[in-house]
């Protein structure tokens, strides 16, 4: 499929400018990632520091990179599919459904391994996102702001249900620690499943143009020869896998898929294909920065990254909403 955007032929200078900017952003992100490798309580110079480095620091940093980019990119995909700037895994209820799936898998299948749990969580996330999309079709008043409100309310109802089940089965305390959104427990042999998420990111890069067209709405996309429903299903499935896997391994990462794509759009406009690398880098940078902050602020204890993201993300989100409103 050829690109549909007829961009003006880039001059040499502009190409350089673009790639130069991306290079700078990549270097900055890399600096954060390297910092993450060397931040922690354990003194790497001490006895066994080398082993510790490979057992915890490297896996943790890799998990940050994978989860950060996946959640940011899946936010971007959901925004295309719903044609709404304010949708992401937490405002569509996707994460809450994944949590419900995880809890059910623990209760009903107590002996299965991590991989099965992730499949169940992803399946639940897929069902939930589909429910959200179907509900959206039924809404009579589809203003920009009603869409995330509906998603948030759906999420609230689902999470009340999850709490209810957890209380009846004595899993309530676990619930809090599971979904806190923390990379503290990520060690070697525990995070490898996150590489699934990398595959999702690659697939999204491949499908970028189709998703862009789907973002123009069903009628336009169909006129342009796109099988809209198929793209919708595939896109939703990828978002569900990313959210499901991330929820099982690290928990909720709120607002990540919301703030990063929107900030990139504000800075660079709405070309999905060329924005994708920026969104990936932005997601990695934001999660890594928040995680480092959480590790440093109360040495030797850690603050879960989900909380810091919750505060930072909520503030960022409100700024975005108010900015959109000012423009009318």
């Amino acid at each position: 499929m050829t690109t549909l955007t007829t961009a003006p032929a880039p001059t040499a200078a502009r190409t350089w400018q673009r790639s130069g900017g991306l290079l700078a952003a990549a270097l900055l992100t890399l600096a954060l990632v390297v910092t993450s490798l060397f931040v922690g309580v354990y003194d790497l110079g001490a006895q066994g520091g080398d082993a510790m480095f490979w057992i915890t620091r490297v896996p943790r940093t890799l998990a940050l990179v994978l989860a950060g980019s996946a959640m940011a990119v899946s936010g971007l995909v959901l925004q295309q599919l719903t044609q709404n700037r304010f949708v992401e895994a937490t405002t569509a209820g996707t994460s809450e459904w994944a949590a419900l799936g995880l809890l059910l898998s623990v209760i009903l299948l107590p002996t299965v391994g991590l991989a099965t749990r992730m499949v169940v969580a992803s399946a639940a996330a897929f069902v939930g996102t589909m429910v959200f999309l179907v509900v959206l079709r039924r809404v009579q008043v589809r203003t920009t702001l009603v869409v995330p409100v509906v998603g948030l309310m759906l999420g609230a109802v689902v999470s009340a249900l999850t709490t209810l089940i957890a209380v009846r089965t004595n899993y309530l305390q676990l619930l809090g620690t599971w979904f806190m959104g923390s990379f503290t427990t990520v060690v070697r042999g525990q995070y490898e499943v996150l590489w699934v998420v990398a595959a999702v990111c690659v697939a999204i890069f491949v499908l970028a143009d189709r998703l862009t067209v789907a973002g123009l709405g069903r009628d336009v996309a169909t006129n342009l020869g796109l099988s809209y429903d198929r793209v919708l299903l595939v896109g939703t499935a990828m978002v569900a896998v990313a959210s499901g896997v991330t929820t099982v391994v690290v928990g909720f990462l709120p607002f990540l898929g919301l703030v990063v794509p929107n900030v990139v759009s504000l800075l660079r406009g709405d070309d999905l294909r060329s924005n994708l690398p920026w969104v990936c880098l932005g997601g990695v940078a934001l999660v890594t920065a928040c995680d480092i902050l959480g590790r440093v602020v109360r040495m030797p204890f850690e603050i879960p990254v989900g909380m810091i993201l919750g505060v930072v993300g909520a503030a960022g989100f409100l700024l975005l909403v108010l900015r959109v409103r000012r423009r009318g």
């Binding site: 008043v141 203003t143 009603v146 609230a156 109802v157 009340a160 209380v167 204890f301 909520a314």
Partner: protein
């Protein structure tokens, strides 16, 4: 502005229109019957909670001990129902909408942030030292500041204000929640214990020593609102109308918001946050009463909210043996109702 105003059917003394009007006496009689029925349900549920499944022999000293301990649960339910019901109806009137409630806009999350911040910045002694009136005043001042901010937005926007407010409120609630948890993580375990006793109540385990305080605050605030019920009727007509009828709109709204903030903080301190309960109680009240007169809606919302909570508690506790789940179940049902309402009617 027009789409913000919910359709209100004022009872005009002599409408020129040819519409057949039910005599006021009949309306009042029907209202009286409905109120009596709802109250009866509430009383029956309360009695059920007190005496059902009591293991001791009726009349023995053990029997009365158990009844006394269950009385504090009933008292808590009554206070919480009163707070949420009255706060929501008053809030609806002064903000001229019937969807947004103080809880949905993040009032209770704000309460928790204020509580946590007090301990975080001043140490655990602050809670004990500033208990009672001083603390409630401080919190109310903060919460009214917040409410005023939101309220200012309500009238300065161009369009989609309710959506914006709703979204902003929900997200603020989430952000405040993260902020509270964040600060709680930084506390020492003993500080956290003191705080959590204050923040995470449920009906079965709410702190009995705080209940008299809550009840007293309810009586005071309820009296104030009841005496201003006719003023509230006028305020509910909107700013322009209320102003031309000689009501100092701005002042009345701020005063009401202050009282609402007090009510929400009392309820939250007793049983923790309940997002959709007030919404459902108010929605039912408007359906049952059929007019916006506060002289009618305020008693009815208290009766309805109490009946709902008491029934839910009775059923959950004695049928499913899960008294601690009442707030969660109400949340689930209320959330579904809210969602359904939103989808059916949009935000008009």
């Amino acid at each position: 502005m027009a789409e913000l105003v919910s359709p209100v059917t004022p009872i005009s003394p002599a409408g020129p229109g040819p519409a057949p009007r039910v005599p006021l006496r009949d309306t009042m009689a029907r209202y009286g019957v409905r109120l009596a029925l709802v109250t009866l349900v509430a009383v029956a549920a309360a009695t059920g909670i007190l005496v059902w499944d009591n293991p001791a022999a009726p009349g023995s000293s053990g029997y009365w001990t158990i009844v006394r301990s269950r009385l504090s649960s009933v008292g808590t339910i009554l206070v919480v129902a009163f707070c949420h019901g009255v706060a929501t109806v008053a809030f609806h009137s002064v903000t001229n909408n019937r969807i947004l409630t103080p809880s949905i806009l993040g009032f209770d999350a704000l309460y928790r942030v204020v509580q946590t911040a007090l301990v975080f910045f001043l140490g655990a002694g602050s809670l004990a030292a500033t208990d009672g009136i001083a603390k409630v005043v401080l919190q109310s001042v903060l919460m009214v500041g917040f409410a005023t901010l939101l309220y200012g937005w309500l009238f300065t926007g161009r369009r989609a204000d309710l959506h914006l407010l709703l979204l902003v409120g929900v997200v603020l609630g989430m952000g405040f929640g993260s902020l509270s948890t964040f600060m709680q993580r930084m506390l020492t375990p003993s500080e956290f214990d003191i705080l959590s006793a204050r923040l995470f109540g449920s009906i079965s385990t709410s702190s009995a020593e705080y209940l008299p305080w809550g009840a007293a605050v309810c009586v005071v605030v309820g009296t104030l609102l009841w005496r201003r019920r006719h003023v509230l009727d006028v305020v509910a007509l909107g700013r322009e109308t209320a102003t031309s009828l000689g009501v100092r709109h701005q002042r009345e709204v701020l005063l009401t918001l202050l009282l609402v903030a007090v009510l929400v903080s009392v309820s939250t301190s007793l049983v923790g946050p309940m997002t959709f309960f007030g919404f459902v109680a108010a929605l039912l009240t408007y359906q049952v009463v059929g007019t916006s007169r506060h002289a009618l809606t305020l008693p009815m919302v208290v009766a309805l909210a109490s009946a709902m909570l008491l029934l839910a508690y009775f059923v959950l506790r004695h049928v499913f043996y899960a008294g601690g789940l009442v707030t969660v179940v109400i949340e689930l049902g209320g959330g579904l109702v809210f969602l359904f309402y939103l989808l059916r009617k949009g935000l008009r």
